[in-house]
Amino acid sequence: MSIAAEQPAVSTSREPSFLVLLFSRGSVIAGSFLIALMVLTAVLAHWIAPFDPNALNIANRLQPPGSAAHLLGTDEFGRDVLSRVIHGARTSLAIGIAIVAFAVGIGTLIGLVTGFYNRVDMVLSRIMDGLMSFPGLVLAIAMTGVMGASSTTVVLALGIVYMPRVARIIRSAVLVVRELSYVEACFALGATRFYVLFRHVLPNVMSPIIIQATFIFSYAVLGEAALSFLGVGVPPTQPSWGNMLAEARTFIVLAWWMALFPGLAIMITVLGLNLFGDGLRDALDPKLKGR
């Protein structure tokens, strides 16, 4: 991002029109609203949650929504479902952001290098293909199984699973950019490959990177939920939407609210990210306009 910031002349003249273009789309407005809602919930969790998410109250267990000040009911230990959903936003978003940073950071680096250096490409691209030859969730479960369940292993496992997708897309974008005449001009002026790669190629593949980041975020939220649901993700001591659903499964016949609300929270977050990502892709890729 710092590289893009060094070019104020270009970005200030383009940015307003791009933002106007972007936010003229209904899907982007709706998506941003849902994302903002979730981010605010996560940030303000301590202030807006009516109860301590881990406060036990056995006398009040499995209360349906709307009873005794528990708007969304209570779980099998009498913990307030609303407060747990609110605090779950913190866990899910934090882990999601960490996965995006990991997958997009390393994926971009690999994509840049493989798109630019043919010799490295031979080896690294085969490894990326190999990683992509696993159904994602299966690989992630195996990795968390070997490394032990924790938030860190979830980030590592899902990061490694999503990284090759980013790498592949950035690589193909780099393959296009590196043939453009301004890159040739840089080399003619005596710039090193490294300099051209980071100073000129990277800023020009920013759009696919940003689009990928949005979609990886939505996969990450779903992936974390699935791993935590299966008991190989976030440990039960920390409320996360996924492990709330794992507990809800046991009580599904008695207490539907334990399952409904964490799932809705996941859906709202992922829907927001998908809507935003779709709009962003359409705005950044004029070829797809009007779809």
């Binding site: 085969r126 490894i127 293909d129 190999g130 990683l131 030859s133 696993f134 159904p135 994602g136 969730l137 299966v138 690989l139 479960i141 195996a142 990795m143 968390t144 199984g145 070997v146 032990g148 939505s218 779903l222 939920a225 699935a226 649901f229 299966l230 008991g231 190989v232 659903l245 809800a248 499964r249 599904i252 016949v253 539907w256 399952a259 409904l260 964490p262 799932g263 996941i266 859906m267 992922v270 829907l271 998908n274 809507l275 779709d278 797809l288 779809r291």
Partner: protein
């Protein structure tokens, strides 16, 4: 055509090596001594040492890797620590529910997804388009295991139409089996239908704008023939790619769904193996799924050649 298939098979080899290597390394790095685990808590250090020697665990990494690759070549996945049976047998025992679930869900996903994608494309920007695309968008944003839980609440607990959980094996009758798998298959299938609908729509829109479609309409062909025979056939390749991916996602998604509905499939086997730290089973299942996935993609690749002769001659 045979030449085309042969070429695909050869390019597959390097892709096969990476998962093999990765799975072996993963197991090699896993904490705990397999020999100690196999002998139980009251084994002496000497017994453990002897078994380590016997299992070749004291050999250098590369020697172990090649011995292991040799065993893999004969489809010997080793023995489960917990189940006391060969991993291959454990996998084969649990194959039926997973295959049935995947095929059932895939059928739902393809039929619902392609039909709504085509309808949306034909009625571009109309009411049907907007409704089906909104539903598809919401669908792809749901965790399928949560959708499964909600289906249980509505159709199993409230209306008592389907069983809450469990699996009826195929030998107790095909329809009984299908019945027991309906809720799980619908929950994964409909979510995947969302993806297929979106790609079908955009792929159809690409093709509908082409000259040969206008020609087909101009020569007076009925709309149905134009859409189904001319447009759909040409829009099929991206759709097929997504269906190939869907297969993999279904296998992965089946893990959570098998947990939700308590179906004794491969996914349950993997999750239980992780809980019991039964590493040979983890390794075997991961490898099995990776190989299945690779061969499905190969199959999809070969199908491209049949659908679009241009692919074959590239």
């Amino acid at each position: 055509m045979i030449f085309f298939i042969m070429r695909r098979l050869i390019t597959l080899l390097p892709t096969l090596i990476v998962p093999l290597f990765l799975v072996f390394t993963l197991l090699h790095l896993s904490p705990g001594d397999p020999a100690a685990v196999m002998l139980g808590a009251d084994a002496t250090a000497q017994q453990v040492q002897a078994l380590r020697e016997q299992l070749g665990l004291n050999d250098p990494f590369l020697v172990q890797l090649f011995t292991w690759l040799g065993r893999m070549a004969t489809l010997d996945l080793g023995d489960s620590i917990f189940l006391r049976m060969p991993v291959m047998d454990a996998i084969l025992q649990r194959l039926e529910p997973t295959i049935m679930l995947t095929l059932y869900a895939l059928t739902i996903a393809v039929v619902v997804g392609m039909v709504s994608g085509i309808v949306a494309a034909v009625n571009r920007n109309g009411v049907l388009d907007q409704v089906s695309m909104t539903v598809a968008m919401v669908g792809v944003s749901m965790p399928e295991f949560w959708f499964g839980l909600m289906l249980i609440v509505v159709f199993a607990v409230e209306f008592r139409l389907f069983p809450v959980a469990g699996y009826t094996p195929l030998d107790q009758g095909f329809w009984a089996c299908i019945w027991s798998l309906t809720l799980p298959a619908v929950s994964v299938g409909l979510v995947q239908a969302g993806f297929i609908a979106r790609i079908t729509r955009s792929s159809m829109l690409d093709v509908i704008g082409e000259d040969f479609i206008r020609t087909a309409r101009a020569k007076g062909l009925p709309s149905r023939v134009v859409i189904l025979r001319h447009a759909l056939k040409n829009a099929l390749i991206p759709v097929l790619t997504v269906i190939g991916i869907t297969f993999a996602v279904l296998m992965g998604g089946a893990i959570a769904i098998e947990t939700v509905f308590n179906i004794p499939g491969i996914g349950r086997l993997l999750v239980n193996a992780v809980a019991r730290r039964d590493y040979p089973v983890i390794q075997g299942v991961v490898l099995f799924m990776a190989l299945t996935f690779i061969f499905i993609n190969l199959f999809v690749d070969i199908l491209y050649g049949f659908i679009d002769p241009r692919v074959k001659n590239q």
